[in-house]
Symmetry: C2
Subunit: 235 residues, 2 copies
DNA sequence: CGGCGTGTTGATTATGGTCAAGTTCTGTGG
DNA sequence: CCACAGAACTTGACCATAATCAACACGCCG
């Protein structure tokens, strides 16, 4: 949990428009920055949060990406979410003070950490931060509920299309190329996230490629006709 | 939004152990109660929250039940949640200040309402209320994420069994008979909630009946072997 | 009693899961 | 740099589950 002087503060962080300080005033951002700890770089596969562990902080991805995942009682893995830079993970721990799923790095990962005690104290005095945490939770809730209806109402290709389009949109917000990117997660992870098998993910990608909507080479994806993909959502 | 003197205050409400005041001190409960408005009785089918409307309050079911629902772009209805007495609805509105789904009464419904402005002001001074709202959001998030993995990993009977067992558990918390109850929602609503068709719900119920696990007469359900139902979740 | 909404049951079909065989990618060590 | 091994991915054949289409029964209202 070292913090060197060369590290960015929230105010000057490239992610400040996307991350927690998004709607905070300059003063609030400065105060929040004082509570943020910067973690050392983790390697791929490292576990930042463990299911069952006491929730002691919020974690924010600074660079790299992660998956929020766990195992069902039958041993099958599930993937609740993928986390890109600027996204906050571990919010579900507010339910009872314990995390219910793991947070695992998908590639070399840097992160920030906001100890819960300090967060609670800051929320007492910073109304903007209070609103922001509520907004984050509301957003995660809305997202989870939307995903749930999608999994139950949309077919395999529609779900994969939605996943790709959503990913593209999130990359765009981060000023990363939205039409040509590398998937940091395996087909299996995508499948577990969308409630499919990896074979179906593979086949659906193949169908998109045959239709000329995407170019696929291993984990590199190029969206050629995002509108055609988005149209699959209408069913 | 009338409030008569015969109405219960939060402190003496039978739901106080389940509802928002669950983890508040007596003092905090008393202060919260001052902010709570009691709505008049709505009839079945009435819409308490409309998708797209500005979020102006939190709503709590006091008696009766409701569904949180909406329509997909293809016109199909989906059901995000059913709300029992003591449960808070509309939390997803924290995302951007607007509701994304309707809240519809399934039977004659009474409710409480906490205007957002007053809630925010109270959260400034009541740390317990702050924690409680975060807990509620965390719980809804955890629930939505759990449901999502369930819809994608568990088969039709497993999902229906889970639904019945969960309903039973929630009724028990409210000191209502957990083994013999009336479903306030139609088969269609259950199907839309679980990502199934109403035929599949009907057939699965039929299978449970044949197995001797439940008694079904119209909307009246009697759980005979809840353990057998719960065992379906292991898959 | 009649009519409609709600629910049940049956026959058929289609989507995606399962099992299996191969191919490509990636990283490692000679 | 190449050879190799193991993982990740693709593709195919077959099958099971639940969706669809359809007919019918029940229950609740007038």
């Amino acid at each position: 949990m070292e913090s060197t002087s060369t590290e960015l503060s929230c105010g000057s962080c490239a992610l400040s428009r996307i991350c927690l300080p998004a709607h905070l005033s300059a003063r609030e951002t400065r105060i929040l920055a004082g509570a943020v700890e910067r973690g050392r770089e983790l390697q791929s596969g490292a576990r930042l949060i463990r299911a069952g562990a006491r929730m002691d902080a919020l974690y924010v991805v600074r660079s790299g990406s992660a998956k929020s995942c766990g195992v069902m009682n039958d041993g099958e893995e599930y993937v609740r979410a993928f986390n890109l830079p600027g996204e906050v993970a571990g919010l579900e721990g507010f339910a009872d003070g314990h995390h219910t799923c793991d947070l695992v790095a998908l590639e070399p990962l840097r992160y920030c950490r906001i100890p819960l005690g300090r967060l609670e104290r800051l929320m007492e005095t910073l109304p903007g931060l209070r609103r922001e945490v509520l907004r984050l939770l509301g957003q995660s809730l809305e997202e989870a509920q939307r995903m749930r209806t999608e999994v139950s109402m949309v077919d395999a290709r529609g779900r994969l299309a939605s996943f790709l389009v959503d990913l593209s949109r999130r990359l765009e917000r981060r000023n990363l190329p939205p039409m040509h990117f590398r998937l940091s997660m395996s087909r299996r992870d995508i499948a577990r996230h969308l409630g499919l098998t990896l074979e179906t993910v593979s086949r659906s990608l193949g169908a998109f490629r045959s239709a000329g909507w995407v170019e696929v080479r291993a984990r590199y994806i190029k969206l050629l006709q995002p509108k055609a993909l988005a149209a699959l959502l209408a069913h």
